[in-house]
């Protein structure tokens, strides 16, 4: 299994040499959404706390790095950590409210959505933050400004983010922290009875997850050169973050990556296909059908199936 992982990383490192520029864009999205899904996986997959508002952390991270760069000249390479820290702070607030007051299941989902929506509305109405129009980043092509002429640079940054998040999750999985998280997902009451401080571990999971997601915000801002409240804080982005790990296998190390490899190309193809025929948004139907099929036929995602195939081979 170890050499398989090394092989996969080697292939991903070599890949840009042979990709067309369109294919490169698709791969950047695969890696980036895989990264966001992996960050979500910590709290949503392993811990079973279904955050449906993770876009808020992308937004906070992206806006922070963009504003620090444009207003104070701070390089986004540092700004991304400030943004991630603020996203983690927001994650801590949401986690505190949800976990201290025992909001479980749908109620936690609603809390996270509500926070993301409040962020969106707030940012849309503050002119200093660009208001509803958002922020636009002038292209300089300066690597110090997190900007590159060569698209392959974004590819490698996205790959680095994905490897970072996957490494973090692999580390968590092996430690006491990760073992506790999987038990919290199964039965919090039993955990408490066995001496597990469920509040503390859920908070840690939320903070780690929102920090990583916040890092992604900077990539989002400087890859697309623009931030709109409706996109970075919006429900559609939250759905994009959640749906990949669920389809790939929530609470498994490779589920989010697999999910992104399945879903991102599919989304791109159907977006293109339906977009050309004037059916904008029809790719969401594909998402819906896929999600229903997974829930019905593969309730634990695609990863267990793929692993079985590999074991047999």
């Amino acid at each position: 299994m170890k050499w398989l992982g090394a092989l996969a990383v080697a292939v991903l490192l070599a890949l840009p040499a042979v990709l067309s520029s369109y294919a490169l864009t698709v791969f950047i999205l695969i890696l980036f959404y895989g990264f966001l899904g992996q960050a979500w996986n910590i709290v949503g997959g392993y811990t079973g706390q279904l955050s449906a508002g993770h876009a808020a952390f992308v937004g906070v991270g992206g806006y922070t790095a963009a504003l620090l760069s444009s207003e104070y000249g701070l390089t986004p390479w540092l700004g991304m950590f400030v943004g991630a820290a603020l996203a983690a702070g927001l994650g801590a607030v949401i986690g505190y409210l949800g976990f201290r007051f025992g909001l479980r299941g749908f109620y936690f989902v609603l809390l996270t959505v509500a926070f993301a929506e409040v962020c969106r509305i707030l940012v849309s109405n503050v002119d200093a933050l660009g208001g509803a129009l958002g922020l636009y980043i002038t292209f300089t092509g300066n690597p110090r400004q997190f900007q590159f002429q060569d698209q392959r640079a974004y590819y490698y940054i996205a790959l680095a983010l994905l490897l970072l998040a996957t490494g973090v999750v692999a580390g968590i999985e092996r430690r006491r922290f990760g073992i506790y998280l999987t038990a919290i997902r199964e039965d919090e009451t039993a955990c408490e009875a066995l001496g597990v401080d469920t509040f503390k571990y859920k908070m840690l999971a939320m903070v780690a997850s929102s920090f990583l997601t916040g890092l992604g915000g900077t990539f989002y801002a400087f890859y697309l050169f623009s931030l709109q409240p409706s996109t970075v804080f919006g429900i559609p982005l939250s759905v994009e973050i959640v749906i990949r790990p669920i389809i790939g296998g929530a609470g498994t190390l490779l589920g989010p990556v697999l999910g992104s490899f399945i879903l991102t190309p599919l989304a791109e193809l159907s977006r293109q296909y339906f977009g050309q025929s004037g059916l904008h948004g029809a790719h969401l139907i594909v998402y819906g059908v896929l999600l229903i099929s997974v829930v019905l036929f593969l309730p634990r995602g695609a990863y267990p199936v793929v692993r079985r195939l590999f074991r047999r081979a």
Binding site: R176, D187, A190, A193
Partner: protein
């Protein structure tokens, strides 16, 4: 087994329950309940269904807060402590409706308990396997907990509680629904745990087991203590016979 957690702040019984009360809406589930458990003792809490036994357990283990009264354990006032904090002091409980982590393996289930005392997963796993071997579950260590039989689940519940290395173990009907032989085995295991110095407070309807295990019995009815004493004395108490045991007395388990 070494005693975990802080040492007693002052001498006294291991567990002392003083005038504990708790109601749910208009229902007084536990009323003015007082009793104590000494170091190394086995005490049974019996009474008809709805007498407040499980509520009492929830009050002792931090899952419910009392309306009045106090619980002290090893000299610590348990007021305001959350369940995991109570557990860390050395008081472990099982659940009447068993709560295994169904999708985790049996050994992982026990590791959730042992990790609290041994932060290293490797050590915690070794400790968990020792406990499983003791409870005849070694062969099931690597299967999912969801696939266990009722009797195995009861033993897993016990294994997990033991994994937290308690000085007082609260057992909520770990024998109900078991066959005679399975019950015998659990009685034997509980006695073995007690012999190592772990005090035990058990809720049980299987009277034969209660009579053979308990050194003292506390009888509840409508949330109140109606009798307390040595098993033979309690079994002859007319109030207990009327409220709970019935005319057949101690000869078998009530229906």
């Amino acid at each position: 087994m070494s005693a975990p957690g802080p040492q007693p702040a002052r001498p006294g019984p291991l567990l002392s329950v003083e005038r504990l009360s708790r109601s749910f809406g208009g229902l007084q589930a536990v009323k003015d309940l007082s009793f104590a458990v000494d170091e190394g003792e086995i005490v049974a809490l019996i009474g008809p269904n709805g007498a407040g036994k499980t509520t009492a357990f929830a009050l002792l283990s931090g899952f419910l807060t009392p309306d009045a009264g106090r619980v002290s354990f090893r000299g610590h006032d348990l007021r305001g402590l959350r369940p995991h904090q109570v557990n860390a002091l050395g008081l472990a409980r099982t659940f009447q409706i068993m709560r295994p982590f169904p999708r985790l393996t049996v050994v992982r289930n026990v590791m959730i308990a042992t990790l609290g005392r041994h932060a290293s997963p490797a050590v915690a796993e070794a400790r968990a396997r020792d406990i499983l071997a003791e409870l005849d579950l070694a062969a099931k260590a690597d299967v999912q907990a969801a696939s266990l039989t009722l009797a195995e689940r009861k033993r897993l519940e016990l294994a997990r509680a033991l994994g937290t290395e308690p000085v007082l173990l609260l057992l909520d009907e770990v024998m109900s629904g078991l066959t005679g032989a399975e019950t015998e085995r659990i009685v034997e295991l509980v006695r073995g745990v007690n012999r190592r110095g772990v005090a035990i407070l058990l809720i049980e309807h299987v009277m034969r087991a209660v009579m053979s295990l308990a050194q003292r019995i506390v009888v509840l009815n409508y949330g109140e203590r109606i009798a307390e004493g040595r098993p033979d004395a309690v079994a002859r108490d007319p109030r207990v016979i009327e409220a709970y045991l019935g005319d057949e007395g101690v000869s078998g388990a009530p229906a």
